[in-house]
């Protein structure tokens, strides 16, 4: 991957800012998402809540199904591959996906190594619970970061935890003396140059979205106020009573996340939210996959 290509890939993520990326499983859902104002869709066979319910090994989706979604919409289409599964990533690149999510939602294919994303021309987004994870993924070539949250639960607590931790760690780094950055790089297990960049720019070197557990306009507004630059919504939309209305409300909540009066209007009459599971009730913590 050339330097220019990496810059263009980071910049595509910049164009998605202030937007909502929605999980869809069919071309019809993709169209509903686009009409509701999604800035991109994530094509996958089963949404995280169903993956969680079904159990078993979860893999990359059928390329034919992904291509059906690519043909149905004009907005960018993303798709997931398993952590470390570079052959799945090669396949997704071959069908010209706009963004690959190397995702803990699927069963990891490698419990040590992530994909060397610098070998690809298509961009990658990766999940992170903290600054160290984010910078390790960026060092491997990721051009966008999202919180891991806890997918398929409808419970926002973990996404909040991950976003707060990221912000706290960046603030701590920025407050250091410059000669302390060498040790910080060692502790974060990342190259000094990346740590220096965060120190100077006071932010991650790439766009950072919230993901994992967003179910309501208020959840989306919460994550935006905590510093997310946009939001992924997985199970929250198509597991709810009125997907089109909820999707459109979440889109507006991300644009006007500071306007409580508007948020109150947006939160009315949305029908049933996804039922959700509390973090104490779940057996499988997807966020613990891939560090």
């Amino acid at each position: 991957m050339s330097d220019n290509r990496y810059e263009l890939n980071k910049q595509l993520a910049q164009m998605l800012k202030g937007g909502v990326i929605m999980d869809v499983t069919t071309p019809e859902q993709a169209k509903i998402a686009q009409e509701a104002g999604a800035c991109a869709v994530m094509a996958l066979e089963r949404i995280p809540a169903d993956i969680r319910a079904a159990g078993g090994v979860s893999r990359m989706s059928d390329p034919k199904m992904i291509q059906g979604i690519q043909e149905a919409v004009s907005i960018p289409v993303m798709a997931k591959c398993r952590i470390g599964h570079f052959a799945e990533a090669q396949i997704l690149e071959a069908i010209e996906i706009d963004y690959i999510d190397e995702s803990e939602v699927l069963s990891p294919a490698d419990d040590v190594f992530h994909i060397d994303k610098t070998k690809f021309n298509v961009p990658f987004v990766c999940g992170a619970k903290d600054l160290g994870e984010a910078l390790r993924r960026i060092n491997e070539g990721a051009s966008m970061i999202r919180t891991k949250g806890e997918p398929g639960t409808g419970d926002i607590v973990q996404a909040v935890r991950h976003m707060r931790k990221m912000n706290q760690e960046i603030a701590k780094l920025v407050s250091m003396r410059e000669d302390e950055l060498f040790q910080a790089a060692k502790e974060l297990r990342v190259p000094y140059e990346l740590v220096k960049q965060v120190y100077e720019e006071k932010r991650l070197p790439v766009v950072n979205f919230a993901a994992g557990g967003v179910a309501t306009p208020a959840d989306a507004a919460l994550m935006m106020q905590l510093g997310a630059e946009g939001v992924f919504v997985g199970s929250g939309i198509f597991k709810s009573g009125n997907p089109a209305k909820r999707a459109a409300a979440i889109v507006q909540a991300v644009t006007n996340y500071n306007d409580a009066k508007l948020l109150a209007e947006l939160s009315k009459d949305l029908g049933e939210a996804m039922v959700g599971i509390n973090e104490q009730e779940i057996e499988l913590l997807m966020a613990e996959r891939g560090k």
Binding site: L8, G19, S74, I97, D98, V122, T255, N256
Partner: protein
């Protein structure tokens, strides 16, 4: 000078940084009440045109902005912003402000793998870096439209009266010449 930046989705913050660095006063447009600010120029940023088109309607921004552009408010649309200004789209019946007599093809270079960087001349501005990200280009325009840049025979920068439309993203490069050109345009209003 007061420049309003449409801030409902996309890379609006990057435009704000460029304009602020050049000494302009910048405000964000997220709701109709934001239009009470005095405005000498308007930026329609890059992002997704379908999202912005929808939110402009949902947030009651479409009609007042449409009126201001028609009345001659200087406006610069980049990428999705160019699509919002176009009178016609090559592959879609849905148009937005439709104040600029050009036909634009969306995603004209294909998916993200078709995105590219180049350095090219823009009339009145000079040599500038141009980043095309899932970019459109202009397929047709009338004689009243001035073509400011062509890359590989595709029209990528146009001006019609006080409306400036660009297929690329001057806001993500380290060059501020295009923004200076636009501010100059607002000044001469």
């Amino acid at each position: 000078m007061n420049i309003g930046v449409l801030a409902i989705q996309g890379a609006f913050a990057e435009h704000e940084q460029k304009l602020t660095a050049l000494g302009a006063d910048v405000f964000e447009i997220r709701q109709a009440k934001d239009l009470q600010n005095p405005m000498d120029g308007l930026i329609l940023p890059g992002g997704e045109s379908t999202v912005m088109g929808k939110l402009l309607q949902d947030l009651d921004l479409f009609d007042p902005l449409h009126k201001r552009i028609k009345e001659g408010l200087p406006v610069m649309g980049t990428c999705a912003g160019l699509i919002l200004l176009a009178k016609q789209l090559a592959d879609d019946d849905v148009v937005h402000f439709a104040t600029m007599p050009v036909e634009v093809k969306r995603n004209a270079y294909g998916r993200q793998l078709g995105s590219f960087h180049t350095t090219h001349e823009m009339k009145g501005v000079g040599m500038i870096p141009m980043n095309f990200i899932r970019a459109p280009y202009v397929t047709k325009c009338t004689d009243e439209v001035e073509i400011l840049a062509q890359v590989d025979e595709k029209i990528v920068a146009v001006q019609y009266k006080k409306q400036l439309g660009l297929a690329f993203h001057p806001e993500v490069t380290d060059c501020d010449k295009v923004h200076a050109y636009f501010l100059d345009m607002c000044q001469k209003r």
